[in-house]
């Protein structure tokens, strides 16, 4: 038996879509096995996930709430991943955005009206995330330090830094000794769509960002350079592209969008700066899958963001209704990512299996 793997020449949009749907289906099948091992009816569990997230108005509103950070971060990651800059540090960039914006909100917020303080906080959040994103860009290009390890480790540094702030200098007087800053002043809290937790300013920002990023990637010089660098760094060098500049800009954007997400979570949901784990439930990591399912197209990240937000919400629902452990959602997400990546491989390569009776020559 011989297995031959060849490159596929033409990849149509339809085929790409089919590959995605099939990978998701295969992934869900694998997840079913895990449910079975836990003695849970998989069909019931999976339908429970999706009815929990899309089946009711309450669930759908929650899904949109969680889709906001996923769309923001996911669309930013499409840009970084296109340039083959593997940014695994969106979680830290999100937290840094929250840190920067909470400082603005707490210190300047009381003196300014809402229409001034909110934009200021978003600006600060963007800068925080961008700075945290630029560090690995410089380290990678200047000192050839692997960006996967670097961005990953910076997550922990940022989480510990934030923890230090909220148990130390920034600890609020109104918290009765518990860690966390005071609540933001009223003017610095993001408005919600009534009857939901959807902070609409961030939602609009997420949708606009996805559109702008699409234009950036496909229509501008910078997007062109990022794509060339990602496709073939040697050609990038040949074409005279400044790697340091390109990487810094794209990581500033990718990190900055994660910073926006941090502002949204902090000022829209929690209203103060608390523990890292409560500020973000792993959005920075889930967004990697969002970007991947979007085929690295920021516009599609809107839809894949909503899809994975649904799984997060539905996962919470089945934890309660079926008594499954909290790690269930992570298993579902991880499994889907593995299958999406595999699907991508089979989309780009053709595998032929030959059964032949070729005998070994005399030796």
């Amino acid at each position: 038996m011989k297995i031959r793997i060849t490159d596929r020449d033409h990849i149509t949009g339809l085929r790409s879509l089919a590959a995605n749907i099939m990978s998701l289906a295969a992934g869900l099948l694998a997840i079913s096995l895990i449910f079975l091992l836990n003695k849970v009816n998989p069909i019931f569990a999976i339908s429970e996930i999706f009815s929990g997230s899309f089946g009711s108005m309450y669930g759908f509103k929650e899904t949109i709430t969680k889709a906001i950070p996923l769309i923001l971060i996911g669309s930013g990651l499409t840009l970084a991943f296109r340039a083959k800059f593997w940014n695994i540090g969106a979680e830290g960039q999100l937290l840094m955005g929250a840190v920067f914006s909470s400082w603005i909100g707490l210190n300047i917020g009381p003196h300014l009206p809402s229409y001034l303080i909110v934009p200021l906080m978003f600006l600060a959040g963007f800068i925080g995330g961008a700075l945290w994103g630029i560090i690995p860009a410089i380290l990678k290009i200047r000192y050839s330090i692997n960006e996967v390890i670097c961005t990953l480790m910076l997550n922990y540094i940022c989480a510990e830094f934030l923890t230090m702030l909220i148990v130390g200098p920034w600890k609020g007087k109104t918290r009765f000794g518990f860690p966390g800053t005071d609540n933001l002043p009223e003017s610095a809290i993001l408005g919600l769509i009534p009857g939901s937790r959807i902070h609409y300013a961030t939602l609009i920002l997420a949708l606009v960002s996805a559109v702008i990023l699409t234009i950036l990637i496909y229509k501008t010089r910078f997007g062109y350079e990022a794509r060339v660098v990602g496709e073939n760094p040697d050609a990038g060098k040949y074409a005279g592209i400044d790697f340091l500049k390109t990487s810094m800009i794209l990581m500033a954007i990718s990190g900055g969008l994660a910073g926006f997400a941090g502002v949204g979570e902090m000022a829209g949901i929690h209203k103060y700066l608390g523990y890292p784990a409560s500020l973000s439930s792993g959005y920075g990591f889930t967004a990697i899958i969002v970007a991947w399912l979007a085929k690295l197209n920021p516009l599609y990240a809107i839809f894949s963001g909503i899809f994975f937000a649904g799984i997060l919400v539905g996962g919470d629902a089945i934890q309660i209704s079926l008594g499954l452990p909290a790690a269930t959602v992570e298993i579902v997400n991880g499994t889907l990512l593995v299958f999406l990546i595999m699907g991508d491989y089979f989309l780009k390569h053709k595998v032929t299996i030959q059964f032949s009776k070729q005998t070994q020559g005399a030796s």
């Binding site: 010089r221 060339v228 496709e231 005279g240």
Partner: protein, 510 residues
């Protein structure tokens, strides 16, 4: 007693995608003999040896050991037959010690304590053939010559009676070459056979008993080294006495465009790849740099176009200093570049044809306005290139990797010449292309010359050099062994110049 007394390759043919790499090759080697395999790059030497080593299967023909036909499907089988190969690029684990590397490739290495059990054997070999190596050192701490010895020990330990050495001296210092030769002499006395691939005449005549000369996949001659001379071998390798064919029109050269003044460039391995090279190039002139690949051509081309930095020296374009400026700056001064490895440098494979049509030019005003790329213009430009340069692509929206090598090259040449560059640096522009595409590209280069560009042409193909160039420099080991007008009769010694056995005093007219 050696397992192999006589090894033969009979009527071996092999082609890749319809392009023959080896045609009806017959050769044999006997115990205690060193066979030289001489030829330019692309002559088919390495393909032939890869067939013997089991990396490729021949399309037809037989391999015989002691008169018996065998088939070799993979390198493991080849090793078990007693054939070993030392590649041009060493296959060693850099962070492991010498002894660990040897244990790694050894067939009888035990699972536990591998180093202890083979150390004795290695030391015995080492004494017999006079290898001087510290077995505890890590590979990265060794010089190229020492690494090569590790490879040889590996092969011998696996019972290689036939040792294939692919360009073994290309990375060695003269001292190391002498050491290698003394090892080879010892092996020869021991009854081993050695197949020595090289394009350097001096070495072939020094170490080999017999020599087989390959050209374009065919054997063009056999000789005993004792009754031939370098000149005859060079002639065989190059294929003929040089023919001066001047069907290109005579054009007076114009103003000076490029000045290269005493430039030194480091290679990837930290060696000095280009040594003190100086020359100038004028409008309406094609200046050829002939030589076997790996003698500094790539480094020189990369430095002129800004991809690599020069250690010292000066490069001027029309009296403006461009030494170690960025590729974009140099492009803007009018220097285009058709790179050597077109797939590796020349294109972004997953992007559209039209995206690739402006690589390096996307920053120019005609293709971008403020921060936006003007895609309608880009597409028009791509369409024009496809039409003018006869690129076979059904749409400009296709990903460029779907095009054939020849069509990619046409697009690159079109792209690089569309702006009427002051200087075009073209590295092996027709390498691997079919006859039609080759003729077409050469014609384009001559057109460009007529229109007033200066062209710096790197090529291994002497036919191309003579067909196109006004002046020819020959490069060997990072130095020019001669700069001559294309009609200089002394060029009939070009084979000797390329092999570094002869030098003609350089007089580059200022």
């Amino acid at each position: 007693m050696k397992k192999i007394q006589r090894l033969e390759m009979v009527d071996i043919s092999k082609s890749f995608h319809g392009i023959p790499a080896n045609k009806n090759i017959n050769l044999h080697v006997e115990s205690g003999e060193v066979l030289g395999l001489l030829g330019e790059n692309g002559a088919g030497k390495t393909t032939l040896m890869n067939i013997l080593y089991g990396l490729y299967q021949p399309d037809s023909g037989d391999i015989r050991i002691n008169g018996k036909n065998i088939r070799i499907h993979n390198p493991l089988e080849s090793i078990s037959h007693g054939i070993g190969m030392v590649h041009q690029h060493f296959m060693l684990v850099q962070n492991h010690s010498v002894i660990e590397n040897i244990a790694l490739g050894y067939k009888d290495t035990p699972f536990f304590f591998p180093k202890v059990s083979i150390r004795k054997k290695v030391e015995a070999f080492s004494k017999e053939f006079n290898f001087s190596i510290d077995f505890e050192k890590k590979i990265w701490q060794l010089s190229a010559g020492e690494q090569q010895r590790v490879e040889i020990i590996k092969a011998l330990l696996n019972g290689a009676d036939v040792l294939i050495l692919d360009e073994p001296t290309s990375v060695l210092t003269p001292q190391e070459i002498a050491e290698l030769f003394s090892i080879l002499e010892a092996m020869k006395k021991n009854g081993h056979m050695i197949i020595f691939i090289s394009h350097k005449l001096d070495e072939i005549t020094q170490i080999c008993d017999r020599v087989t000369v390959l050209k374009k996949g065919e054997i063009v001659g056999h000789a005993d080294t004792s009754d031939t001379d370098k000149k005859a071998l060079a002639r065989m390798m190059v294929g003929r006495d040089v023919i001066f064919n001047i069907n290109k029109e005579k054009i007076e050269r114009g103003k000076k465009v490029l000045t290269v003044d005493r430039v030194n460039i480091l290679g990837d391995k930290g060696n000095m790849a280009v040594k003190d090279i100086s020359f100038s190039l004028y409008r309406n002139e094609i200046f050829g740099i002939a030589g076997v690949a790996g003698n500094g051509q790539r480094e020189l081309a990369e430095t002129i176009t800004g991809i690599r930095e020069a250690e010292s020296g000066e490069i001027l374009i029309s009296d403006k200093d461009i030494t170690n400026k960025s590729p974009r700056h140099i492009y803007d001064e009018g220097v285009s570049h058709v790179p050597e490895e077109r797939i590796r440098f020349g294109i972004a494979p997953g992007l559209h044809l039209y995206d690739n049509a402006i690589l390096k030019q996307h920053h120019l005003d005609k293709f971008s306005k403020r921060m936006f790329i003007r895609y309608p213009r880009v597409k028009d430009h791509a369409k024009a290139l496809v039409k003018d340069f006869k690129v076979a692509a059904h749409t400009i929206n296709t990903e460029i990797k779907n095009l054939s090598g020849g069509n990619i090259q046409k697009l690159i040449l079109g792209r690089e010449t569309s702006d009427q560059p002051a200087l075009l640096v073209a590295s092996h522009p027709t390498y691997g292309l079919d006859v039609g595409a080759t003729e077409y590209l050469r014609k384009q280069l001559l057109d460009l010359r007529r229109q007033g560009s200066a062209i710096l042409l790197f090529s291994e193909d002497l036919e191309e050099i003579f067909e196109l160039c006004d002046r020819v420099a020959v490069i060997f080991d990072g130095e020019f062994t001669g700069i001559l007008d294309a009609d200089d009769p002394r060029l009939c010694d070009i084979g000797m110049l390329m092999a570094g056995t002869k030098r003609i005093d350089i007089q580059d007219t200022p």
